[in-house]
């Protein structure tokens, strides 16, 4: 951090995150939006101030909650009208698109409150764009501050950032972001060029389970930061905690800040218990960056994932119960893997097909399997074809991940032969990233 004021200013909307869980389990409600980043500052024992936009009904409880997290000054810069600022989340582990639903989003309005914070001596400002007018909000803030912008959501045009009165020090973006999806074809360099107008010093691309890449010192260097994958309890706000930890640790340089941010983000994904989260973060901060480099982790950049085709071994038939299969396909494609689907590509044969047709399709499926880097099996209904494909892959030395959602294939040959077997898609997805991050491309 720069020396103007020792604490950062956090700017953005406060939202209520409401996470739907499985039937029979208790749903979860907590403050979201910039509250995730606030928890990150708190876990790192970094006092901070906040300038927020929120619905008036939330102000008292948010003020109280932020105070408990060590927030020094709590400014309200605007009020949300017409909507409760509640986001309903249906997939908190982000095995696929998290399926955010913002209630009454088309009715939502924001009334900014004129406040002059321009003379406050905040050196670093972490901003999360929202439904508010970013330029107007930035005009209320000190123009000499360095701005770190997490543009995962609510920014359509990077060129507009050039109009901000502050120098943009850092751009953080995620592969989950709609903006990234619209810009992502050009890779990391293409992303850098998209933000050229605001001339950031550092660009950070958070790539979910595949790690993070940073362009630092205005393109002089690229740093790879592997992900620390564990069992995901809740991935909502993990990127925000990354951003907070990064800003909190900037005094040690952007590279060290990035490494420490990956550990803080991983801890946030593994528990929603605030005290346990802080315990994890404080423990991890005792590791040196050299320790972290040596331990490494999972690193599989977004565009490289296309180099590892994944063979789907599943009863991918039109008449089958396809729920688990669709979930697996959605998850893998969401993370930019190419899923090769033999039934779709080589045809779904009628039961009374003649031997020559059967042989032709078998050969085509076999050849396709051999071209793939990994077999992802969803052998629902103990589908014999899928299990044969698992066996072929094991014998061929092609890694196999078995997703067995109703635990109907708990068999020695399947479990021990596969590199990973689980009823949990999150765990299977982590295994795919782990295996392929150490693999040679096809």
């Amino acid at each position: 951090m720069s020396n103007k004021k020792s604490i950062p200013l956090l700017v953005g909307e406060i939202i209520v995150d409401f996470t739907l869980t499985r039937p029979g389990r208790e749903n979860k409600l907590r403050l979201g939006g910039v509250a995730h980043a606030a928890r990150g500052f708190w876990a790192l024992d970094t006092p901070f101030s906040a300038a927020v936009i929120l619905p008036s009904y939330l102000e008292d409880s948010a003020r109280k909650y932020f105070r408990a997290l060590g927030c020094v000054d709590f400014y309200v810069l605007g009020q949300v009208t017409g909507a409760p600022n509640v986001t309903v989340i249906s997939d908190p582990t982000e095995v696929a698109d998290q399926g955010y639903e913002t209630l009454l989003r088309d009715e939502k309005g924001i009334e900014l409150i004129e406040r002059d914070l321009s003379n406050e001596l905040y050196g670093d400002i972490l901003i999360f764009p929202g439904s508010y007018d970013l330029e107007k909000v930035c005009q209320m803030l000190p123009s000499s501050a360095l701005v770190h912008l997490d543009v995962a959501y609510d920014l359509d045009n990077p060129a507009t950032l050039a109009k901000l009165p502050q120098a943009v020090q850092t751009i953080l973006i995620s592969t989950s972001s709609p903006l990234f999806r619209s810009l992502g074809e050009g890779g990391l360099r293409g992303l850098w060029e998209a933000f050229e107008a605001c001339a950031p010093s550092t660009l950070i691309l958070k790539e979910n389970r595949g790690g993070t890449r940073m362009i630092v010192d205005a393109q002089m260097k690229t740093e790879a930061l592997p992900a620390q994958l564990g069992t995901t309890a809740n991935s909502v706000g993990v990127g925000d905690v990354f951003a907070a930890a990064y800003v909190a640790k900037l005094e040690y340089g952007s590279v060290e800040a990035g490494w420490r941010a990956t550990y803080a983000a991983a801890a946030y994904s593994q528990t929603t218990d605030p005290d346990l989260f802080k315990t994890y973060v404080k423990r991890d901060m005792k590791l040196t960056v050299e320790d972290m480099r040596q331990l490494w982790g999972v690193f599989l950049p977004w565009e490289r994932r296309r180099e590892y085709p994944i063979y789907l071994a599943a009863p991918d038939f039109s008449y089958a119960d396809r729920r688990a299969i669709e979930r697996a396909i959605a998850s893998l494609t969401y993370h930019n893997f190419i899923v090769r689907r033999p039934v779709l590509e080589n045809g779904e044969l009628p039961a009374d097909s003649n031997p020559a047709v059967l042989q032709g399709t078998y050969d085509a499926d076999y050849d396709l399997l051999k071209q793939c880097s990994l077999v992802f099996a969803v052998p629902t209904g103990r589908d014999p074809g899928s299990l044969v494909e698992v066996g072929i892959a094991i014998e061929a030395g092609i890694p196999v991940v078995v997703y067995d959602p109703v635990v109907e294939n708990k068999n020695t040959m399947v479990m021990a032969g596969a590199r990973h077997y689980s009823e949990d898609l999150d765990s299977c997805l982590n295994a795919v990233f782990g295996i392929l991050s150490g693999a040679e491309p096809q």
Binding site: K28, L229, G230, Q270, T272, D273, P274, D275, V298
Partner: protein
């Protein structure tokens, strides 16, 4: 854990059982949920590159007592100090636990010489700091 239900915001600092006086574990020490305290099973990586495999051209027998140490990676070694494989990086968090004094002692549960590659599965139990 954390905020539960939808009635109010409840995930305040100090709200978890681990942090309450008399709660499980007390403060930031071990609690039932703490990832440092969990027993675990792991299939080791890089077995064929390990000290043990290179020295003996074989795998350690089932039942071998092992411990977890940090070299560059987290390495599983016999009580004689011969590495038998690396822990997958998904267990990297244990490095922080070990810095705090947690120790991990285990037993080789399964060995397989391949194909395609040699593999070892180990069960570990955690011992809290003294």
């Amino acid at each position: 854990m954390g905020s539960t239900g939808s009635g109010r915001i409840s995930d305040y600092p100090g709200s978890s059982p681990a942090a309450k006086p008399g709660g499980q574990g007390g403060g930031i020490g071990p609690s039932v949920e703490d990832r440092c305290a969990r027993a675990f099973n792991a299939r080791l990586e890089d077995v064929e590159l390990s000290d043990y495999y290179r020295a003996h051209a074989n795998l350690p027998p089932k039942g071998t007592r092992v411990e977890l140490v940090k070299r560059k990676r987290l390495v599983v070694q016999t009580t004689d100090g011969e590495g038998i494989g690396n822990l997958p990086t998904s267990f990297n968090f244990l490095a922080s636990c070990m810095n705090e004094g947690w120790t991990y002692i285990g037993t080789v549960q399964q060995v397989r010489s391949g194909p395609p590659v040699a593999s070892i599965s180990v069960d570990f139990a955690a011992t809290p700091p003294q």
